[in-house]
């Protein structure tokens, strides 16, 4: 089953403070372990919310608000997408992230096509979805 591991933002990530070379090396080693175990599907870092925007739909109207957004602890700073056997295995990997103090991550289960009632998705749509995932989302391997 696939899980998204969401790294929450903090004052440093929102200020655009870049990680030290030591942190980059530690993260690189950690990612290598995920890759070696065949569980890593993706991983990215997000630039500060000051470079982003929010788009709201209300009563058929679209409003665009440019960042930054004040509620730092609600924001996302990065993520991994993992393919593991259980929530426990996902948590085991999370415990080994080389974070030191104050960082917070959120673990969320990803929907699979099989989670939806058979008649909710057409056969044609399922085939398209399966083909697209086959082309784009497999474990990264050395």
């Amino acid at each position: 089953m696939r899980f998204m591991v969401i790294v929450k933002a903090n004052a440093e990530s929102e200020a655009g403070v870049l990680p030290s070379s030591e942190m980059i090396a530690a993260m690189g080693r950690y990612n290598d372990e995920l890759i070696a175990a065949g569980v890593m599907l993706a991983g990215e870092g997000l630039r500060p919310s000051s470079e982003g925007a929010r788009i709201k739909y209300e009563n058929g109207k679209v409003t665009v608000t440019d960042g930054p957004f004040a509620e730092t602890k609600e924001l996302i700073a990065g993520y991994w997408l993992l393919d593991v056997k259980s929530k426990e295995e996902a948590l085991e990997w999370i415990r080994r992230i080389p974070f030191t103090d104050g960082e917070e991550v959120e673990l969320r289960k990803v929907f699979e096509a099989s989670d939806f009632p058979v008649d909710a998705i057409s056969e044609e749509h399922l085939k398209k979805e399966a083909a697209w995932r086959e082309a784009t989302q497999k474990p990264i391997r050395h």
Partner: protein, 154 residues
């Protein structure tokens, strides 16, 4: 430049309701349009936070709190990764979001992703090589990105 499109959670995504057949169709058409335009790199929906957990690190020690989490509007319900020329182009794609989603009441956040060149000297040649190797493996079709040569053209 790559952007993450974040679909914020609401009472329905945190509840027990699944999308209707009509919404599936609209969402499928929207994603297909982005795939055909060669901008769509990834996308997924997240199950309610009650099936998830949070992990906090203090002095390097992790502590785990199981979901659900009360602050619905802070949560994420789904995401796409798109590769476009500008923030304006990213916003233009988001403005075409399926109208049936959230019964027309939806909040989306877009955020640019970090690229290797953003990190400067702290990103050492060794780490760059490691990253490039990983990206090359992804581009070879074993990762999460749609390989450049395999992207459908218009």
């Amino acid at each position: 430049m790559r952007f993450m499109i974040i679909r914020k959670a609401d009472a329905e995504t945190e509840g027990a309701d699944l999308p209707t057949e009509e919404l599936f169709k609209q969402m499928g058409d929207y994603i297909e349009e982005m795939v055909k335009a060669g901008v769509m790199l990834a996308g997924d929906g997240l199950k309610p936070s009650r099936e998830g957990a949070r992990v906090k690190f203090h002095n390097g020690q992790p502590s785990v709190i199981d979901g659900p989490f009360a602050e619905t509007k802070e949560l994420v319900a789904g995401f796409n990764i798109i590769d476009v020329a500008s923030k304006e182009e990213a916003i233009a794609w988001v403005k075409k979001w399926p109208q049936l989603d959230g019964h027309g009441e939806v909040e989306i956040e877009i955020r640019p992703l970090y690229e290797a060149e953003d990190f400067g000297d702290v990103f050492t040649p060794e780490e760059r090589a490691r990253e490039e190797k990983m990206r090359a493996e992804m581009a070879a079709g074993t990762g999460n990105a749609v390989p450049e040569g395999q992207r459908p053209s218009n």
